[in-house]
C-alpha cells in the first residue's frame, strides 16, 4: 500500500476519486510522522528522566493556561502529549503492521495448502478457521493475551507486550486471508497452466509458490490495507481495556485509556488528541482500502 501511495500519479491514472487521493496522502503523512517519531518528537516520552511530575496535566499551548513548551499539553505524568502520541502512533502502526504481516503469512500459506490439496487437508484447515471465526475478535485476543501474561509474568510482560498483541490479533485475522486465498487457489489450480506444471513434474511446493501464489496475491494486498486499520483498532481497544501496551510504553490506545480517567475532571486533551489521531488514521486507511477492494473486485468493475 505504501508503494502505491508513494506515487499519487499512479493513483490518478488508476482512476481514483479525489477523496481517495486525499485519504492516501493523509495516511502517508501520519505513517511518516510515526516512523520518524525519534527525530521529530520534541521529547522522548520513554526516557523517564526527561519529564517531571510538576508539569503534569498542563493544557495545550493554544489555550489560556497553556505552556508553550508543550504544544498539545501534557499527560498525568508530565509527558509531552505530542511526543507521546507520535511514539504511540509508531507503536500502534508497528503492532498493526506486524499483525497483518503475521496473519497474511499464516493465512496465505494455509489457504494455498487447503486450496491446492483439497480433501482432508482442506477440511482440517477450514474447520479450524470456522471455529476461530465463531469467537469475537476481542474475546479471542483477550484470551490469548491473558494466557500469555500467565506464562510470562511480571517484568517480562512489558517487553513481550507487542509480540503478545501481534499474536493475539493475528490469530483471528488469518482466517480471512486463508478463505480468500483458498478460493482463488482452487480456481487457479483448475487452470491449464497449473496442469501443465504438474505434467512437467514440478513438485507441489514449487507449483504453489512460483505459479499459483503470484496469481492470488492481488486480493491479499487489498485485504491487508483493510485489515491494517482493523488491527490498529483492535490493538487500541486492547490497550484501552488495559491488556495492551503498558503506560511506560504507551500506544494510542493506552493514551486514550489514561486520558479517559481525567475527562470528567475537565482534562479533556489527554484523551481527545490521541483519539482524533486514531480516528483519522483508521479512516484514511479504510477509505484507501475500500477503494482498492472495489477497484480489484472483478464483480464490481464496470464493463469497458
Amino acid at each position: 500500500m505504501k508503494t502505491l501511495a508513494a506515487t499519487p500519479g499512479r493513483f490518478i491514472r488508476l482512476g481514483a476519486p479525489i477523496s481517495v487521493i486525499v485519504a492516501a496522502i493523509i495516511a502517508l503523512i501520519l505513517v511518516a510522522c510515526a516512523l520518524l517519531a525519534s527525530w521529530i518528537a520534541p521529547y522522548d516520552p520513554t526516557d523517564l528522566a526527561s519529564f517531571e511530575l510538576i508539569n503534569a496535566e498542563l493544557p495545550p499551548a493554544f489555550t489560556a493556561d497553556g505552556d508553550s513548551r508543550f504544544l498539545l499539553g501534557t499527560d498525568n505524568q508530565g509527558r509531552d502529549l505530542l511526543s507521546a502520541m507520535l511514539y504511540g502512533a509508531r507503536v500502534s502502526i508497528a503492532i498493526g503492521g506486524g499483525a497483518v504481516l503475521l496473519a497474511a503469512t499464516l493465512g496465505v500459506t494455509l489457504g494455498l495448502l487447503a486450496g491446492y490439496f483439497g480433501g482432508r487437508v482442506d477440511a482440517l484447515i477450514m474447520r479450524v478457521a470456522d471455529v476461530i471465526l465463531s469467537f469475537p475478535t476481542i474475546l479471542l485476543a483477550l484470551l490469548v493475551s491473558g494466557i500469555a501474561r500467565a506464562i510470562f509474568p511480571g517484568a517480562a510482560t512489558a517487553e513481550w507486550a507487542p509480540v503478545i498483541l501481534i499474536c493475539a490479533i493475528a490469530i483471528h485475522e488469518w482466517v480471512q486471508y486463508a478463505r480468500t486465498v483458498r478460493a482463488a487457489t482452487m480456481v487457479e489450480t483448475a487452470k491449464d497452466y497449473v496442469r501443465a506444471a504438474k505434467v512437467i513434474g514440478l513438485p507441489p511446493r514449487r507449483i504453489m509458490l512460483r505459479h499459483i501464489l503470484p496469481n492470488v496475491m492481488s486480493p491479499v494486498l487489498v485485504i491487508s490495507t483493510i485489515n491494517l486499520a482493523a488491527a490498529v483498532l483492535t490493538e487500541a481497544t486492547l490497550s484501552f481495556l488495559g491488556v495492551g501496551m503498558p503506560p511506560t510504553y504507551p500506544s494510542l490506545g493506552t493514551l486514550i485509556r489514561i486520558g479517559n480517567e481525567f475527562v470528567f475532571s475537565g482534562i479533556w486533551w489527554i484523551a481527545l488528541f490521541p483519539a482524533l489521531a486514531l480516528v483519522i488514521l483508521v479512516l484514511a486507511v479504510n477509505i484507501v482500502g475500500d477503494w482498492l477492494r472495489d477497484r480489484f473486485n472483478p464483480k464490481l468493475r464496470v464493463k469497458r
Partner: protein, 576 residues
C-alpha cells in the same frame, strides 16, 4: 422463396463504431449490407473479431455502450431501425425479433420452470391469459421436437440436456411469431449429433413458417448444410456475399478462399493444410533440426513395440462430503478401455463431450489416477497396477498440450521463464545461457521469433499462445505428447497453422502424438489410427483411412454422417 415480399431484414452500408479511451475510434463493422427475405437463412461467417456478432447484437438492439451506429440503416420487416431508441418503430425484441444465443446452459434462468420462461414473453407481448399461453407453450415444445412436452413444462432447465435446452430457447424465440430470428452461434456449444438436430429444426422453421434467420457462425460446415446465402466478414468488412453454393464452391476474394481452404476436410486426407504465407520457414526448420540432434534417438530398437499401451482402464469419479457418514456419489468416466499407440504415429481418440476421452488424456499424462487397469510406457507401468509415483525420465517422456491457450500459460511469468522451466527442472541444460539458447530454438521451432522470450503471455494471440504451449511441451524433450483438443478454441485458419505445425514437428523430431478431439475432420487430417469412444467405452479402433471410408460400428457411421461438411452443400444436393 418469394422474392417480391418485403425483406424481414435489410441492412444497408452499416457502420458500427466504438470510441476508445484515447480519443480514437474503433470501427467494428464497416459498410456492411445484407438482405434477408422470409424463409431464408442467411449465414454471417468470419473469424473471431470479424464483427459478425456486433451485427447480430445491433439488429437485436443489444449493441453495448459506448458502441454506436455511425452510418447506414437497418430495416426490420420494412420498418426503419432507430439508433437512438435502439429499436424500430412497432418492432419489439422478443415479439417480432427472436433471439437464440450460443450457450444453452446460461441462456435460461435456472430458477424458473420451462413453462414460466416460455409463457412470459407471450403474456407480456401478446396479452394472452395463463391458459392460452400454456396451450401455446405446449404447442411450441411439440413443434421444436421435445418429447413429453407436458412433463417438460414443469421441469427446470437443469433437468434438460444441452440439446433440449437449446430447443427450449428456440421455442421461446418463436413464441410470439417473429418475422426474424437472430441465432448467434446456436450450435457451437453442442455435440455433432445434437447440432444436426438443431440445424434441421432451424431449416424446418424457415421453410415451414417463412421465418427469416440471421445465422451468425464460424463453422463452414454448418453454413454449407443449412444456409441459403452467405456473407463472409473479415475485420469488420464484408469480403464476399452470395448464395451458399457460389461462395463456398467458387470464392472470389483471397480471404474467402483461404478461409474455406483451411476448413479440414473429412472426405479425403491432405498432406498439409493450404495456409496463407508460411514465413520464416527456413529458420523454423533449422531450429527443428537442432532440436532433433539434441534429443537422443534411443528408440531405434523399440520402433515396433508400442510406446504406450492402455489396458482395461477404468476411472471412477466420486464426490463425497468431508463429514464422516456422508454418502459419496460414484460415476464411471472410463470403462474398460484398451488401446496401444505405436512409436512415431499420431493416434486419435474421438467422441462427443462426456465420453471420457479427456479423462484418458489425464491418466496418460499422470494428472488422474486410474481406478482399475493400467497404462504402460514402453512396457513399464506408469499408472495403475502397482505403478509408483512417476518421476524423472518417465515423467519427462510424456508431455501435454491443452485446449485453452488463454489459461495454459501463467500470465505472471515471462515466456522465457515458462519455457525454461522444464529445461532447468530436468537439467537438460548445464548453464543458464545454454537454457536460454534452447528456449530461443524452441520458440523458433514453433514459428515465432526468439525475442518472444522477453514478453508476457498477454502480448500474444490465441494461435501464438498455442504455439508457445507446444514449445513448452517440447522443452522437456518428450517422446509422446498428449494433445487435448489442441485447436478447438482457435479460429479455423489458425487451426490449420497449428495442425500443420504439429505435423511438421512430428516429422522433424519423430514424436508420437495422442490427439484427443471431438472434431472428426481434424482427426482424419492428422491421425494414422483412430479410436472412437462413447460413454466411457471404446467402440471401434482402426486405421484412419479404414475408419473413415468403411466404419464398422453403427455409432461411428452415425457420427460421420452427421458432421456438417463442405462436400454437401445445400441447394447443390438437389442439383447433383
Amino acid at each position: 422463396m418469394n422474392v417480391q415480399s418485403t425483406p424481414v431484414l435489410a441492412i444497408d452500408s452499416l457502420r458500427v463504431e466504438y470510441p476508445l479511451a484515447n480519443g480514437s475510434v474503433f470501427t467494428a463493422v464497416e459498410n456492411a449490407s445484407l438482405i434477408i427475405r422470409p424463409g431464408e437463412i442467411h449465414a454471417l461467417v468470419g473469424e473471431s473479431g470479424a464483427g459478425k456478432t456486433t451485427i447480430g447484437n445491433t439488429v437485436m438492439g443489444l449493441l453495448e455502450k459506448p458502441g454506436r451506429i455511425a452510418a447506414g440503416s437497418i430495416h426490420i420487416d420494412g420498418k426503419r431501425f432507430d439508433p437512438a431508441r435502439g429499436s424500430a418503430e412497432g418492432i419489439v425484441l422478443g415479439r417480432d425479433v427472436g433471439a437464440v444465443f450460443q450457450d444453452p446452459m446460461t441462456s435460461l434462468n435456472p430458477l424458473f420452470t420451462i413453462e414460466s420462461q416460455l409463457t412470459e414473453a407471450m403474456r407480456f407481448h401478446l396479452r394472452l391469459d395463463k391458459a392460452a399461453a400454456r396451450a401455446r407453450a405446449l404447442e411450441l415444445l411439440e413443434s421444436v421436437g421435445i418429447p413429453e412436452p407436458k412433463r417438460r413444462l414443469k421441469a427446470y432447465p437443469h433437468q434438460l440436456s444441452g440439446g433440449q435446452r437449446q430447443r427450449v430457447v428456440i421455442a421461446a424465440a418463436l413464441s410470439c411469431n417473429p418475422k426474424l430470428v437472430v441465432a448467434d452461434e446456436p450450435t457451437t456449444a453442442l455435440d455433432v449429433s445434437v447440432q444436426a438436430q438443431i440445424l434441421k429444426l432451424l431449416r424446418d422453421l424457415a421453410d415451414g413458417r417463412g421465418i427469416g434467420i440471421l445465422l451468425v457462425t464460424h463453422n463452414m460446415g454448418v453454413v454449407a448444410q443449412i444456409a441459403d446465402r452467405v456473407t463472409i466478414m473479415h475485420r469488420g468488412k464484408v469480403v464476399e456475399t452470395g448464395t451458399t453454393e457460389e461462395v463456398l464452391r467458387r470464392p472470389k476474394a483471397s480471404y474467402a478462399k483461404a478461409l474455406i481452404g483451411a476448413v479440414p476436410r473429412i472426405d479425403q486426407r491432405l498432406d498439409r493444410f493450404p495456409v496463407l504465407g508460411d514465413e520464416g520457414k527456413g529458420r523454423a526448420e533449422r531450429a527443428r533440426a537442432e532440436l532433433r540432434a539434441k534429443a537422443e534417438r534411443s528408440n531405434v530398437a523399440a520402433e515396433e513395440a508400442p510406446i504406450l499401451s492402455v489396458e482395461n482402464l477404468c476411472v471412477d469419479y466420486t464426490t463425497s462430503g468431508w463429514l464422516p457418514g456422508s454418502k459419496g456419489h460414484r460415476f464411471r468416466a472410463v470403462d474398460g478401455v484398451s488401446f496401444s499407440v505405436r512409436s512415431g504415429e499420431v493416434f486419435g481418440l474421438v467422441g462427443e463431450s462426456g465420453c471420457g476421452k479427456t479423462t484418458i488424456a489425464n491418466v496418460v499424462s499422470g494428472l488422474v489416477r486410474p481406478t482399475a487397469g493400467r497404462v504402460l510406457y514402453r512396457g513399464q507401468s506408469i499408472a495403475g497396477g502397482g505403478a509408483s509415483r512417476r518421476v524423472g525420465p518417465l515423467r519427462q517422456a510424456i508431455q501435454m498440450i491443452f485446449q485453452d491457450p488463454y489459461s495454459s500459460l501463467n500470465s505472471r511469468m515471462r515466456i522465457g521463464s515458462i519455457l525454461s522451466e522444464p529445461i532447468l527442472f530436468y537439467r537438460l541444460a548445464s548453464t543458464r545461457a545454454e537454457a536460454e539458447n534452447d528456449v530461443a530454438r524452441l520458440i523458433e521451432a514453433v514459428g515465432l521469433e526468439a525475442e518472444a522470450a522477453e514478453r508476457f503471455p498477454h502480448a500474444f494471440s490465441g494461435g501464438q499462445r498455442q504455439r508457445l504451449s507446444i514449445a513448452r511441451a517440447l522443452g522437456a524433450r518428450p517422446k509422446l505428447i498428449v494433445c487435448d483438443e489442441p485447436t478447438s478454441s482457435l479460429d479455423v485458419s489458425v487451426q490449420a497453422q497449428i495442425l500443420n505445425l504439429l505435423k511438421d514437428l512430428r516429422d522433424a523430431t519423430g514424436l508420437t502424438l495422442l490427439l484427443i478431439s471431438h472434431d472428426l475432420a481434424v482427426v482424419r487430417q492428422m491421425c494414422d489410427r483412430v479410436a472412437v469412444m462413447r460413454q466411457g467405452q471404446l467402440l471401434e479402433q482402426a486405421d484412419s483411412e479404414t475408419l473413415f471410408d468403411a466404419p464398422q460400428h453403427a455409432y461411428t457411421k452415425e457420427l460421420l454422417s452427421l458432421v456438417p461438411t463442405l462436400d454437401r452443400i445445400r441447394g447443390e444436393t438437389k442439383a447433383a
